[in-house]
Subunit: 316 residues, 2 copies
């Protein structure tokens, strides 16, 4: 399922002219073997369990090295020192930080990212890094201080949520094309809609199989909190199209609605897929974007045939 092993990948990150070192390898592997947000000191303690002779300075230097190599990301929770988290195969994300138990949880919100882009655009600002940290009280602490459920890695959570969004989108897409096919008078258009409906159906099967596999690997996954937040995805990106279809009668209009939906979902999946670092969630998004692009082209071609026009509609 993965294109190359983590070790080989990390190896490839090493800056030109730098050397392998068993100490550094140890530090990197201990770091990658841990899940939460470590301080430099936490890491020193962990590493000293395996090798007494590694100095704090080396850990600091390695941390800097990992940061530059894109393996680690420095995060500041306002404690007066930094923490480090995985960056490799780990999407960028935002944090919920409990002031009581000091744990931090991660989430991702395409909606917030969207707003951030709009603000930055309005100010002519180029965003390199976005920090969103919500400080407060977690559910456990608020309700009396439970220890905490064992939590899955955010990579799995991301894969799970990416699959959920993809599945919801396929479902609404299938509904859209089924409806469109049934209300179409033109033979060519109906064939296209039926074809697309079948395509969505096939892909839906694959996605659901993958979702079940994921659950089989980690039975706890469904009980874990939501990680990726994206409003448009709750009922699938085509659900607005399904609504719109109800008040439309011409095949041309139906095609145009389909084009808009595919364009929107292609854009969403491509944009967010590209943003993340290598991970299953990323691959799900990009694969999906590709599929939507094919559908989009098919629809546009058909629209041109139907209208005799050169270009398919304006719009964003």
């Amino acid at each position: 399922m993965q294109s190359q092993s983590p070790a080989a990948y990390i190896d490839s990150l090493r800056p030109a002219g730098s050397k392998r070192s068993s100490k550094r390898d140890l530090i990197v592997s201990v770091f990658l073997g841990q899940d939460g947000h470590l301080t430099a000191d936490d890491l020193v303690d962990l590493i000293r369990k395996q090798d007494q002779r590694i100095s704090r300075a080396t850990v600091y230097r390695t941390l800097t090295w990992m940061e530059q190599a894109g393996i680690a990301r420095k995060v500041d929770f306002g404690e007066g020192r930094f923490r480090f988290e995985h960056s490799y195969r780990h999407p960028r994300h935002f944090h919920l930080i409990c002031k009581a138990c000091n744990r931090s949880m991660e989430f991702l919100s395409s909606d917030i990212e969207q707003m951030i882009e709009e603000v930055a655009a309005a100010r002519g600002f180029t965003v390199k890094q976005a920090v969103v940290q919500l400080y407060g009280l977690c559910e456990d602490c608020a309700s009396g201080g439970r220890p905490a459920a064992p939590q899955a890695s955010s990579e799995s959570l991301f894969a799970r949520d990416a699959l959920r969004i993809a599945i919801a989108t396929e479902r609404s897409g299938r509904e859209f094309y089924t409806r469109a096919a049934s209300m179409t008078s033109n033979d060519r258009a109906r064939t296209i809609f039926e074809q697309l409906s079948t395509s969505e159906d096939d892909h839906l099967d694959r996605l659901e199989t993958r979702y079940q596999e994921l659950l089989a690997e980690m039975p706890d996954l469904e009980r874990q909190p939501q990680f990726l937040f994206f409003k448009g995805a709750a009922s699938g990106l085509f659900s607005a199209g399904v609504e719109a279809l109800k008040s439309v009668s011409s095949d041309k209009d139906a095609l145009m609605i389909g084009i808009k939906c595919e364009r929107g979902s292609h854009k969403f999946f491509k944009k967010y897929g590209e943003k993340f670092e290598d991970s299953e969630g990323k691959r799900i998004f990009l694969e999906f974007a590709e599929e939507e692009r094919e559908h989009l082209e098919l629809l546009i071609r058909e629209y041109r045939v139907l209208t005799g026009k050169d270009r398919a509609g304006a719009g964003s």
Copy 2:
């Protein structure tokens, strides 16, 4: 325009049993006289210009005191030290931080706050403080390193943007009630709509006058960047209602649309008004919320009369 002078207000913040001190007064007034985000060291330098005999420790202690008194807010831009910004009459906000020139700009986004609340709710998390920091390159630095335009205080920017939102809302509200009045058959209902239309008109006048006054005080204000971001406000909170009115014929339905609009805008203005610390923008929002509440009550009463029902509609 202000209920009491800053000095008197700050005086009232002094904890019980604490003494006046000219040193502290000096530090506080130097701090309040500066704009932007100062480090403790910046402040020491500034203060030493006026009095050589003030020690770093005192500045640190006063900073802590100001933080507790609500005059200053500690912000962390991940530089390994803290900066302090005004908190007194200065809304909570988010930051854009330029890595090149090290300047930081402020903005506010009700949209992002909204998303934050949704994420927190989904996770059962109680948010005490939200940090949103966008690191990157500002417009000036990206385009070749201009020094920077003199910037207005965020208090003025907030007042300006609050007025803009209020004005847009009044305008769309007036349009809504004018249309509603003209399409109403029932005499009582028409009277209500006309009355509300006039009320919006009056308030609109007052707001526009205040906006002009603000511009007169600070002619640069319109050239300053947007500070408060809120999507729903671009064309006024009633514009959806104006649209909805077009496809509705009964007076009852028109009243209900009005109720929904007033309820939504009352909620918005109240919620955000309450969030901010004392400032003109806050007062504009709260005053506005109050007006909307009155309209809302009037509409609900009328709806009850018209339908003979006990309660006015369900919904959020």
